[in-house]
């Protein structure tokens, strides 16, 4: 098997070698570098640079044609339509395209500014815990990383199935509420249990209350008082029905906009799918911190808390910045998960800026390529600043 592969490998190499060898005779060995670079540069040029320049041009054209010659130049009309809003904070005051643009932009900003800090903090906590001296670290790390391998579409299908109105999450919550209510109505055993739980905080309270009393029976008195109070409170709470929760009403998590649930779940699902990646980067950063630093700190009697603030955090800072900027760039480009999960809905509640670009150009009868390109130019400006920051930071880290 492997012998056959080697043979194929050599034969393939020789096959390409024929024409390239004669080319080398003509231009010399040194210039072969250009030949090696050529495929890459052609693809870069055709599918990165040329489109980038083209984007600026299209942003100033109108019409619905894909053929450039048929697109009339209309000046800054597209930008005017996007930016001519009396108030940017209220997209409803904008023209149609501007409404979509600003809704998407504000949603994306909200999404990024909430999602990134939450994810970075959870990723950091998880990385710190995985960096402890625990058993089966490889297993835990693999499980946390696993969702990163899944495609956004798969992730969206999984969570859509869980979050349906009659899905498993609502069923579980319903079970929990009715289970608790059954318990709360179950009578004397519930009262005894509740009394015992209440006793825990009541004991120190009564002891403190009776601290001034100089009586030989003080301790017995305070204990008695606590028990009495616990019995009274638990019977009153249980009998009054104050602990019985209202019946659970299933929430349409991805459709019911009233409490902002769709945006919550979009953030949750996106974080669920990407957390493992940032955790992995942070864990690698943590493991690069030399062990002897901690050992030296321990010798000096430094507390764990202090060595975290004085050693771990400062040395992890470069990695933290990379994670922060990288996750911010990615969050600004969020599309796949959200598009499949909610389609930007309900209404426009979870419509992100990339979805605005995509829909302006490719959805519906009016293919507004000009509007999409103009929006891209505006978003690209924002992303370029972020990416530049990231490159500078990474370079500084690599350069030491």
């Amino acid at each position: 098997m492997s012998a056959a592969l080697t043979w194929i490998w050599k034969a393939l190499g020789d096959l390409i070698d024929g024409p390239l060898r004669s080319l080398q005779k003509h231009i010399g060995a040194h210039r072969m570098a250009y030949v090696f670079l050529a495929p890459n540069l052609i693809i870069f040029g055709l599918f990165s640079f040329w489109p980038m320049l083209l984007n600026f041009y299209i942003a100033f054209t109108g019409g619905q044609s894909v053929i450039l010659a048929e697109r009339p130049l209309i000046g800054v009309e597209n930008f005017r339509e996007l930016l001519a809003c009396p108030s940017y904070l209220d997209p409803r005051t904008c023209p149609v395209a501007g409404y979509s643009f600003w809704t998407g932009l504000w949603n994306t900003l909200f999404f990024a500014l909430v999602q990134v800090p939450i994810m970075v903090v959870v990723a950091l906590v998880t990385a710190l815990i995985l960096n402890r001296n625990i058993r089966g670290r490889g297993f835990w790390r693999a499980v946390y990383f696993y969702p990163v391998m899944l495609s956004p579409v798969v992730v969206a299908v999984i969570w859509d199935w869980i979050l349906k109105r009659r899905g498993i999450l609502n069923a579980l919550l319903d079970d929990m509420v009715s289970g608790w209510n059954d318990l709360a109505r179950s009578g004397v055993w519930f009262e005894i249990g509740l009394g015992l739980i209440l006793l825990l905080p009541l004991l120190p309270v009564t002891r403190a209350l009776l601290a001034r009393i100089a009586s030989p029976h003080r301790l017995r008195l305070s204990h008695g008082l606590a028990v009495g109070l616990a019995i009274l409170l638990s019977t009153w709470l249980a009998r009054s029905g104050g602990l019985v929760l209202p019946d659970y009403r299933p929430v349409n998590w991805l459709i019911d906009q009233r409490a902002g649930w769709p945006m919550f779940w979009v953030i949750f699902v996106y974080t669920w799918g990407h957390l493992g990646f940032y955790m992995l980067i942070l864990l690698a950063g943590l493991q690069a911190i030399p062990r002897d630093l901690y050992e030296a700190a321990e010798m000096d009697g430094t507390s764990r808390f202090r060595s975290f603030w004085r050693i771990t955090l400062p040395l992890l800072m470069p990695t933290m910045v990379v994670v922060l900027v990288l996750s911010l760039i990615r969050a600004f480009q969020v599309f796949d998960e959200v598009y499949v999960l909610t389609g930007g809905g309900p209404g426009q509640a979870t419509k992100m800026i990339i979805q605005h670009i995509y829909e302006s150009a490719f959805i519906g009868d009016a293919k507004r390529y000009g509007i999409a390109a103009a929006s891209s130019v505006l978003v690209a400006g924002l992303l370029m600043v972020l990416t530049l920051v990231q490159l500078l930071v990474t370079r500084r880290r690599a350069g030491g």
């Binding site: 050599k10 390409i16 070698d17 390239l20 060995a29 210039r31 072969m32 570098a33 090696f36 670079l37 890459n40 540069l41 693809i43 870069f44 055709l46 599918f47 040329w50 489109p51 320049l53 083209l54 984007n55 299209i58 894909v66 450039l68 906590v125 815990i129 058993r135 089966g136 490889g138 499980v143 946390y144 696993y146 899944l150 495609s151 579409v153 798969v154 969206a156 999984i158 859509d160 199935w161 869980i162 009659r166 899905g167 498993i168 669920w272 990646f277 992995l280 690698a284 990288l326 760039i329 480009q333 796949d336 670009i357 999409a372 390109a373 891209s376 130019v377 978003v379 992303l383 990416t387």
Partner: protein, 358 residues
């Protein structure tokens, strides 16, 4: 790879339970909770994918795929079987014929001629655990359903894109990495700068011009339109260039003495020696391509050329009563990635941790 020994040490941690500090309890509690949040949704989908359409419509919250037992009827249909609790407390099996008011007309299996009436409240569905493998076979090898979800076609398209794009990505970027690391030529630094500058242009912001370019080249609704534009990745070039810098130049000089052509040096010396870096890029590329969604969504609009991701998302958007197929196909879509991950877990995590890419 998750070895048996690792799971073993993990499970047997109980032995040292007396020595566990309270913070260890918190640690393991946190880890366990996280693992549940990660794995339970996936597990729930896998379990659901084996249920019957009826159970899915009902949203049966039980984990296992229960199905009501039926016995064949004379007219080719079937009777559902119930457990009838008689007034004397004994429970017997009965098959349902029909419903009349609060009563049900039933007969005992084996005696279909003696139909009698019992109160419906005394009946309980008699169920058995029956995984419905048809959910998996109908859209894949079945004939009637293949029109709604042509799994094999999508699977082939996805595999084609993934394999071809990964091979091209490796070759094209390795060639560029070789040129940038082993040659001195005019404009080398400028070209390196140009390549890294493309990092500044995420594909999400050049969708329209890219679409126009691809359509002008006649690549719309062609898998090549998905494959080619992202073949040259600046990250790939730099990953490979950094690695190739560590290969000693003496090797190349020795080969040149033996009159090897530049291409042969690349093919026979550089590529085999760069295998570690190439495998990292290969893993990344497979992940990118198999999971890619947005660019295929724009380039491919006809269902014959859909990738799995496109097929799934379209299928999800279309209908709700085919949930049993959607869930099963989602499981089949995540299966290859999961298998690759289980086998190559160590390589993948270390590769990604070292490059900072995914």
């Amino acid at each position: 790879m998750i070895t048996g020994a690792e799971i073993g040490t993990f499970l047997s941690r109980r032995r040292g339970i007396g020595r566990l500090h309270w913070s260890d309890w918190l640690t393991y509690g946190y880890l366990l909770m996280g693992v549940l949040i990660v794995l339970l949704p996936i597990l729930w989908m896998i379990l659901s994918s084996l249920k019957s359409p009826a159970a899915l419509v009902e949203n049966d919250p039980r984990a296992l795929p229960y199905e009501q037992i039926t016995i064949p009827a004379a007219d080719g249909k079937s009777h559902t079987v119930f457990l009838w609790t008689r007034s004397d407390g004994v429970a017997v099996d009965v098959a349902l014929v029909g419903v009349r008011g609060l009563n049900a007309r039933v007969f005992e299996p084996g005696r279909p001629d003696t139909v009698f009436e019992v109160p419906r409240a005394s009946l309980q569905r008699k169920e058995t655990v029956a995984p419905r493998w048809d959910n998996y076979t109908e859209p894949t090898i079945g004939s009637t359903q293949s029109r709604t979800f042509n799994f094999l076609r999508y699977f082939w398209n996805s595999s084609f894109v993934t394999v071809v794009a990964t091979l091209l990505t490796l070759i094209v970027n390795a060639m560029a990495g070789f040129a940038l690391s082993k040659y001195r030529f005019a404009g080398r630094d400028a070209m390196a700068l140009v390549i890294i500058a493309t990092l500044l242009v995420p594909p999400t912001v050049i969708l329209v011009p890219l679409f126009i370019t691809v359509s002008k080249l006649g690549l719309l609704n062609s898998l090549w339109g998905v494959i080619i534009p992202a073949v040259a990745t600046p990250t790939g070039v730099f990953l490979l260039r950094q690695y190739m810098l560590t290969i000693p130049d003496e090797l190349l000089e020795a080969a040149r003495m033996d009159a090897a052509s530049e291409w042969k040096i690349f093919w026979r010396i550089i590529l085999p020696l760069s295998l570690p870096a190439l495998s990292v890029l290969a893993i990344l590329s497979v992940m990118w391509r198999w999971n890619d969604f947005m660019w295929p969504l724009i380039v491919l609009t006809q269902s014959e050329v859909f990738t799995l991701q496109l097929g799934l998302s379209t299928f999800k958007g279309e209908l709700n009563d085919n949930m049993h197929h959607l869930l099963a196909m989602t499981v089949l879509t995540l299966l290859p990635v999961t298998l690759v991950f289980v086998v190559l877990q160590k390589h993948i995590t270390t590769g990604i941790a070292n490059t900072g890419l995914k």
